[in-house]
Every structure is written in structure tokens, then in C-alpha cells.
């Protein structure tokens, strides 16, 4: 393993200190229990709190700021955070209008957020993100939450900023989540610092279709394909899932897993754009880049969200975070 690291034990904490310094105009970092929270707070606003294992940066801490999240609770690399982090974060950013937890559907995240919710002495609700269609809808623990999380957090973040109440935010988040489908492909595994070697082995001419974001193997190992063939596979699954009508407005998100250069992500975007356009979809909004990463994994995912006017307006609303910024 070659990484910039002093010790796996200090990586996360030191990195978060750096993150907070580099974005001191937007966020602050509370070291123990560990949470990142925004500088600008509003009373009467629903507080949005997300979190999960680290190693997916900029998700989630890169999304803390005006128009998006109020706080995040970073766990150890690929390990869900603990309830005390969520409780402390909630106390710190509560604005009197309740707390909404945005949780990716993983056993550890679900259970730890659930424990926090049970203990929290404030009105609260949770949204479970489960946009990863590489697993069947009927999967025993439901589908995973992956890159669609960014879309949900942005849109609900805008609504909360505009003063929507807790129930409205929750319902909106669930609506966006239902309108969103993602699927990913890995060209390489990733290396968890504490482990020091790649999580799975993959041959030079093989790729993993339907991977999650923790370096776990995907749904199937297949032979390497051209970018066009890969896009056809991924986009085909998404169309099968969402069954969008011709003329439907969509948001197309090409998400890199960390080690895939932008030149390739924009190629994938163009090919996906052509694929969806041919099927009559109107690509109204786009997001291309490394947002929900798996450390140093090479690969990417496609995410499509069926937009209505409301969602599109909230997507366009001002946001000022480390990783997403526009309109302000």
C-alpha cells in the first residue's frame, strides 16, 4: 500500500482537521465526538444530519453548508459512525424545527442512527437512501444507498433552507429517493488504509458490475468492455428500473469512485447523455465528478433522477458547501 499517511489511526482525525481549516469559511469540526457542522445556522430551520463511514469524500462533509446539510458524522473508514456523534451533532445544530437524519441503507448506519434517534430528545425523523439498483428491490435488507445520496441531500437541503417543516422534508427526500436509481462499475478494488492491501483481487481484463461503495465485490465479474458497452449496460438497467416516459426531465449524475480521471468521467457522461437522449429523456441537469467515492477505487456509477419542477427548482437553489457551490 502506498498512501499519504502517518498511521491508519490518525488519518481520519487529522484529515478532518485539515478539511475544516481548508473550509473554515463554511464549516467547523468538533473532534470528540466527531462531527462537522456549518457556520451559518438558522433558527426555525429543520436540521439535516447525515453521516456514514469515511472514505467516500467529499460525501458527506463536503456537503455541509448553506443550502445543504447542517452537520455530518464521519465514521472510521467504511465504518458507520456511532450514536453519540449523532446525538452531539443534533444538539449542536438543532434549530427548533426538528432533526432529519439522512441515512444510507447499510446495516451499521441504519442501526447506529436508529439508536441515536431512540435516544434523541428532540423531534426527529429519518430518510433511508436505497438508490443502488444493482440489487433486486426484494433484497433481504433492501438496496444500498450510493451516489443518489448527493441528489437527495441537495434537494432536501434546499427545501429545509427555504423553511419546509420536518414532515415535508422527510416526504420530499423519500420522493427524490424513489425517483432516483444508481448503478456502478469498478475497474479496480480500493485499499483500506488499516488493511494495507486491496479489498478484492480482479484480473486485468475483468471489471465488477454492480458494486457498492465499500470496495466489496459487485453483482458479477465480467470481461472488460468498451465505454459504450459499459454505459449501455448501466443505463439499460436504470431505464428498466425507472421506466421513464419519453419527454421526462431528468438529472444525470456521473459519479467517479476516486481514481478515475475527469476525462473518462466526461466521456461516460457524453455516452450516457446520448443513450438517454435517444430514449426521449430530456437531460435538464447534470453532475459529473467524484462525489461518492470509494477511496482510491477506479470506476464510476450512473445516477438518474426523474425531475419534477419542484425538484428542479430546489436543485438550482443556492448552495455553498466545500464540494457543491452555486448561486451564492
Amino acid at each position: 500500500m502506498k498512501k499519504f499517511i502517518d498511521s491508519p489511526d490518525t488519518l481520519l482525525q487529522t484529515s478532518l482537521q485539515g478539511f475544516a481549516k481548508a473550509h473554515a469559511d463554511i464549516v467547523q469540526f468538533n473532534p470528540d465526538p466527531r462531527f462537522v457542522y456549518r457556520n451559518v445556522r438558522k433558527t426555525g430551520k429543520v436540521a439535516l444530519i447525515s453521516g456514514g463511514g469515511s472514505g467516500h469524500e467529499p460525501l458527506h462533509s463536503g456537503f455541509v453548508g448553506v443550502g445543504m446539510l447542517d452537520a455530518t458524522c464521519p465514521g472510521q473508514v467504511f465504518t458507520s459512525p456511532t450514536p453519540d456523534q449523532m446525538l452531539a451533532a443534533a444538539q449542536a445544530v438543532d434549530g427548533g424545527a426538528g432533526v432529519l437524519f439522512i441515512v444510507k441503507n447499510y446495516a451499521g448506519d441504519v442501526m447506529n442512527f436508529e439508536m441515536a434517534a431512540e435516544m434523541l430528545d428532540l423531534p426527529n425523523a429519518s430518510i433511508l437512501i436505497d438508490d443502488d439498483i444493482s440489487l433486486p428491490k426484494t433484497h433481504s435488507i433492501g438496496r444500498r444507498g450510493v451516489a443518489g445520496t448527493t441528489i437527495v441531500e441537495k434537494i432536501v437541503g434546499a427545501a429545509a433552507e427555504n423553511g419546509a417543516d420536518l414532515a415535508t422534508c422527510k416526504a420530499l427526500g423519500e420522493r427524490v429517493n424513489r425517483a432516483t436509481a444508481s448503478i456502478g462499475v469498478a475497474l479496480s478494488s480500493c485499499t483500506v488504509p488499516a488493511l494495507g492491501h486491496p479489498t478484492f483481487a480482479i484480473a486485468d481484463d475483468e471489471i465488477e458490475l454492480g458494486v457498492g461503495i465499500h470496495g466489496e465485490r459487485g453483482r458479477e465479474t465480467v470481461k472488460m468492455m468498451s465505454a459504450s458497452e459499459i454505459v449501455e449496460q448501466l443505463a439499460g438497467h436504470i431505464v428498466d428500473e425507472l421506466k421513464p416516459a419519453a419527454g421526462q426531465a431528468v438529472l444525470l449524475h456521473v459519479n467517479g469512485f476516486g481514481a478515475t480521471p475527469l476525462i473518462e468521467l466526461h466521456l461516460i457522461y457524453e455516452l450516457a447523455w446520448q443513450y438517454f437522449s435517444k430514449r426521449g429523456l430530456i437531460i435538464q441537469r447534470s453532475l459529473v465528478g467524484n462525489f461518492t467515492t470509494s477511496l482510491d477505487m477506479a470506476g464510476c456509477s450512473l445516477t438518474l433522477t426523474l425531475l419534477d419542477e419542484d425538484m428542479q427548482g430546489l436543485w438550482d437553489a443556492p448552495v455553498n458547501t466545500a464540494a457543491l457551490r452555486w448561486g451564492c
Binding site: Q76, V77, F78, S80, T82, G108, I141, T199, E216
Partner: protein
């Protein structure tokens, strides 16, 4: 039963040593069908307990379990963190109105394992730590009811735990990360089941020694 949490520092040290000795093996298991962090999660928890060991030692069992649960909850994270935190907090809760002898403990432990099932929405047979915890809890109840000696009971529990681990090998994972692999999850032992067994066996060894 004259056992008290004064044993706790020794127990934790035994667990730390035993998990360290099996760290690579556990990591390989969690990497095969999970995400490879299980041993680090456990070790973070054990380390935190080690740091609080002297506070815990003078407590009574109920207070000790509560403190253990809260410590694990804040230190571990991941699936196993919330499950073990739930186990100990539930143990404290159901132990509160009991005399903590073998029979009282076996009742409380069975209830605590039920709380883990609820937290994880899981049952025996889904290739998780429950495939060790549940049969061990049941065996403990049965052996205690049959009036076996502590040494006999501990031997039996170690055997049941070992069988439980082995049983996970051919199971299809339907909970936890391994479930994402579907059929590919078969043929591998579950890491969380393995560490549950390791810890039960290490605890048993300490208890047997201290009762000699």
C-alpha cells in the same frame, strides 16, 4: 456465583490478546464477504473498554454492563458496534430485576440476545453473529436449568459456539454486507460469528481458571 466485575480487567486483556492472535484470520473472513474492518472495529471497542477497565471493575454487574454498552456504543460503530452495544445495554436492563447467579444471568442473556435480534432485524440462519449468540444463549439456559457445574456449562458453550461458527459456512447471507454477494457469500465463515465464538471461548477460559 461469586464472580464479579472485578474480573473485568483480566477478561478484557484476555479478549484483546485472543482477538490479536486471530486478527489476520478474521480480516480475511470479513474481506471475503464483508468490508474487512470487523477486527479493527472490535479492537477499537476492546481498547476503549481496556481504558475504562478500572472504572468498571468495582461496579455491580448491572452497572458494569450498562457502562460496557455505552462504551462500546461510542467507540465501535459499524454493524457490530451497535449490536454489541445493544447486547450489553439490554443485558443491564433485563438484569436489573434479577439475582445475577447462573440462572439469572442465563435469563438476562437470552433477553439481551433477543434485543440484538430486534436491533439487527435478524434471525438464526442468516449467517451472522446470531448463529453463535443464539445457540449459546439457549444452551446456557438449558444447562443452567439442568443444574450443571460452571465448568461443564462453559465447555458446552464453547462447543456450541464452535458449531455455530462452522454452520455459517454454507449459509446464504441475508443480513449484513455479505448479503450483497448473494450466492457468492456461500462457502465462507461469517467474520462476526467467528469473533463471537473467539470471545466466548476466551471468556470461558478466564472464568474456568478463576473458579479453579
Amino acid at each position: 456465583m461469586s464472580l464479579t466485575p472485578s474480573l473485568f480487567p483480566e477478561l478484557i486483556q484476555a479478549l484483546i490478546d485472543d482477538i490479536a492472535a486471530h486478527a489476520e484470520e478474521v480480516t480475511e473472513l470479513d474481506q471475503a464477504i464483508g468490508d474487512g474492518d470487523h477486527v479493527f472495529n472490535l479492537q477499537r471497542g476492546l481498547q476503549a473498554l481496556h481504558e475504562h477497565a478500572s472504572e468498571i471493575a468495582p461496579l455491580d454487574w448491572v452497572a458494569a454492563w450498562q457502562k460496557i454498552g455505552m462504551t462500546v456504543m461510542a467507540a465501535v460503530g459499524g454493524a457490530s458496534g451497535s449490536l454489541y452495544a445493544t447486547l450489553f445495554i439490554a443485558l443491564a436492563k433485563s438484569g436489573r430485576d434479577k439475582v445475577i447467579d447462573i440462572s439469572g444471568f442465563s435469563d438476562a442473556f437470552l433477553q439481551a440476545v433477543e434485543a440484538v435480534k430486534l436491533r439487527g432485524k435478524a434471525e438464526v440462519g442468516e449467517k451472522t453473529m446470531l448463529d453463535v449468540l443464539v445457540p449459546v444463549a439457549l444452551a446456557l439456559r438449558d444447562e443452567a436449568a439442568a443444574g450443571k457445574s460452571l465448568a461443564e456449562i462453559l465447555d458446552r458453550l464453547c462447543q456450541v459456539a464452535a458449531d455455530g461458527v462452522e454452520a455459517t459456512r454454507d449459509m446464504l447471507a441475508t443480513k449484513g454486507r455479505a448479503s450483497f454477494l448473494g450466492e457468492r457469500s456461500k462457502g465462507h465463515i461469517d467474520a462476526g460469528a467467528k469473533t463471537a465464538q473467539l470471545m466466548i471461548t476466551a471468556i470461558a477460559a478466564v472464568l474456568k481458571k478463576s473458579c479453579d
